[in-house]
């Protein structure tokens, strides 16, 4: 075989770098949506490669629900200072305090859905015209329809039935005032691709992804971590388990899996053998068949 071909990880990397550079070239005030999860860490890493030897030109925007894993916040602050990145924080607590949103009630109440308002308010206040996300098309059926450059109207809404056609490498980022874009450089990556790449590039990720002992409660078919925000239901008991997390969201909705995988190599092997999707442990997606689509239409990540 000719030596002039790229393997699939190099091709995905090259595509993502192209998208990040298009964002920089086409928008005035783009940011990286940073959750502290592996996908947004990967996007930040790819941005570093895309602009080297210049600095990453995007600030990180974290929508902080106040229901965080402490490890995530620590990691976020360390990464921002190491790479010299500006960190913007939109606070859900502040949106609650100012009456923009109200806390959910009920047994599985979370702040997940409230993030949308905080995100859209921050985008408007900071005049952000493109928010770069780590969303992947393999994650969820509504996300399978996403464009690399995804248009949002002036209410921040996504109209999946009326998207701009996106052909070849020609991305149309034109917008009217008040509208914005979401850009998804790692659209074509799968969970497995992300882990293989993190391993290959030896990218630092929060300790939560590696197997560790933790106090947890069995709820909705997964191990929910004990935190100040968790209220025990009758019949639930705190146990200590060796677990790790496949995705990182709010501490209240992110379930762990029992695992011994404490290195990137072991995680790659474990993920390859997985028979459940990674979002299978996210209670936010379990609410209904179109839970993600509904949230995305409103302007969710």
């Amino acid at each position: 075989m000719s030596k002039y071909f790229l393997n699939y990880l190099d091709e995905l990397e090259s595509e993502a770098i192209f998208v990040l550079r298009e964002v920089w070239a086409q928008f005035e005030n783009p940011v990286i949506l940073f959750s502290g999860g592996k996908d947004s860490i990967l996007v930040t890493h790819l941005a570093h490669k895309a602009f080297y030897p210049a600095r990453v030109p995007f600030p990180l925007l974290h929508i902080d629900t106040g229901h965080n894993f402490p490890e995530t916040i620590e990691f976020r602050d360390r990464l921002a200072s190491e790479k010299g990145l500006q960190l913007l924080v939109g606070s859900v607590q502040q949106s609650i305090d100012t009456g923009r949103v109200a806390e959910e009630r009920g047994k599985n109440a979370t702040r997940n859905i409230l993030q949308t308002t905080t995100l859209l308010d921050t985008i408007e206040a900071q005049k952000i015209d493109c928010a770069i996300g780590g969303g992947r098309r393999d994650e969820e059926k509504a996300r399978a329809k996403e464009r690399f450059f995804s248009h949002r109207d002036d209410f921040g809404q996504w109209d999946p039935k009326n998207q701009r056609p996106e052909l070849w490498n020609l991305f149309n980022g034109k917008q009217f005032e008040g509208e914005h874009f979401r850009a998804f450089p790692i659209s074509n990556w799968t969970e497995m691709d992300v882990w293989n790449y993190l391993l290959r590039e030896q990218i630092d990720i929060p300790s939560l992804y590696f197997a560790h002992e933790r106090q947890v409660v069995w709820r909705n078919d997964s191990w929910i971590p004990v935190s100040d925000h968790l209220k025990l239901e009758p019949g639930e008991a705190i146990e200590i388990k060796k677990i790790r997390f496949r995705t990182l969201g709010d501490i209240t909705i992110t379930g762990g899996i029992e695992s011994d995988a404490d290195t990137l190599e072991k995680i790659v092997t474990e993920v390859a053998a997985m028979r459940q999707t990674e979002r299978g442990n996210r209670t936010d997606d379990k609410r209904s068949e179109s839970a993600m689509e509904d949230r995305k239409r409103e302007g969710y990540f």
Binding site: P53, P160, K174
Partner: protein
């Protein structure tokens, strides 16, 4: 797991729900063990609720709520699976609604197209339309799957008959590599596993075909084209004089020391360095994203193209393209549109509609000058500045354009330079 030298293959699937397209995709994903247990459980529950017998694999490809409710596909959806040999991206395009717009979109980046034919019906209008678009978009490999062979008793004669029907009309098309495979997506015959019902078929099953298609030559490695996306100016210690031109190589190979010309200015220089991320490399090729520096200080900005001095595109302000109209609003005669080619953007107008093509019969119509949704036409484009002309046939990355209507900001047309 050693995946390091595996390539990525992108393919489109064309066909309607009736052809068993969703079943085929479901089958590929299921038999290659790419469907997870929780996804399967959800499909099983839905199958049961809808009263289907067994698991309806087609449900796996439903995405939006409207699609599930109406049983149709609205937009291109992307699916992923990996085998020990390759990673695959499927652009799953709807067969009926806005078929041209969606098929063209899915086909634009594909290495291969799978065209599905129902063995009971043979070649129909839709088949011709799909084959036409696959050839128009120059998809390098076409795989015609004759599906539902179980419903025609797996007869070789039926298969052969459809193959000749296809060959008759496709002789009018510009297609490089066509293969035919008799399958039953429902039963899994010749999809992943070889069929025991059709011993007369000596070729490979579909998945093996996809795993072994020769795709390294699909990208043009001859004509070096590098469109500048942005200029990197680090302004920091150690890099104060650094001016890096960042972009993705559209085609060809670049080496440090190559004599290059910058278009449209025509200034010449030599490549001083090439970077891939932090790593300095001595050569780079399509489709790598790199940044390069030149030996001379030249004014270069986004939209400029760095090419090898001995291999340059022609520059023209009037040229013909095959244009697909993608918008509800018909084309406005002589209106100005924004034209994007690689990273270059300029104003352009459609000077003349030469002819339109009926994609069911391939007949040319020189009378109808109105471009409406899904129209495909040969048109003459006039640009305000010289356009760097590569034919789409030679170069899919630099020979492609889109038109944007600045009154709505929508992408209204896609074009391929003739």
């Amino acid at each position: 797991m050693e995946l390091n030298n595996n390539q990525l293959l992108r393919f489109t699937t064309a066909g309607s729900v009736d052809d068993g397209k969703s079943t085929l995709i479901g089958r590929l994903l299921y038999d290659s063990k790419s469907i997870f247990e929780d996804q399967l459980a959800s499909i099983e529950a839905t199958s049961k609720r809808k009263g289907h017998e067994g698991v309806d694999l087609a449900l796996f490809t439903d995405g939006l709520r409207d699609e599930r409710e109406q049983g149709i596909t609205i937009d291109v959806a992307y699916r992923y699976f990996t085998t020990p040999k390759r990673k695959f991206i499927i652009a799953d395009t709807p067969g009926h609604i806005q078929y041209t717009r969606n098929m063209v979109t899915g086909a634009s980046t594909a290495n291969a197209a799978i065209i599905l034919i129902d063995a009971r019906h043979g070649v129909i209008e839709q088949t011709k339309r799909h084959a036409f678009i696959a050839s128009l978009l120059q998809i390098p490999h076409m795989i015609v799957c004759i599906n539902k062979m179980d419903l025609v008793d797996h007869q070789e004669a039926v298969f052969n008959d459809i193959v000749s029907q296809f060959e008759v009309f496709s002789s009018k098309l510009d297609v490089q590599d066509v293969r035919f495979i008799p399958i039953s997506a429902l039963n899994g015959d010749n999809v992943v596993n070889r069929s025991e019902q059709m011993n007369w078929y000596q070729g490979s099953p579909l998945l093996h075909t996809l795993e072994t298609l020769h795709i390294s030559s699909d990208t043009n490695k001859i004509d070096a084209r590098f469109a500048v996306q942005t200029v990197l100016r680090p302004q920091r210690e150690g890099f104060l004089d650094y001016r890096g031109y960042a972009g993705r190589i559209a085609s060809g190979i670049y080496r440090v020391g190559d004599a290059v010309t910058v278009l449209p200015s025509g200034f010449t220089s030599k490549i001083a360095s090439i970077n891939s991320g932090e790593e300095e490399v001595s050569e780079a090729f399509a489709p790598m994203s790199v940044s390069m520096t030149l030996e001379d200080d030249i004014d270069i900005s986004r939209g400029d193209m760095i090419v090898k001095t001995n291999n340059q595109p022609e520059m023209h302000q009037e040229f013909d393209v095959m244009l697909c109209w993608l918008n509800d609003q018909p084309a406005r005669p002589r209106a100005k549109y924004s034209l994007m080619q690689t990273t270059n953007e300029q104003k352009a107008m459609i000077k003349e509609v030469v002819y339109q093509i009926d994609i069911n019969t391939y007949a040319r119509n020189t009378e109808n000058k109105n471009l409406t949704m899904n129209a495909i036409a040969r048109v003459t484009i006039k640009t305000t500045r010289p356009f760097m002309l590569d034919s789409y046939r030679d170069n899919r990355m630099t020979g492609s354009i889109i038109l944007i209507d600045e009154t709505t900001n929508e992408t209204v047309a896609a074009g391929m330079v003739v």
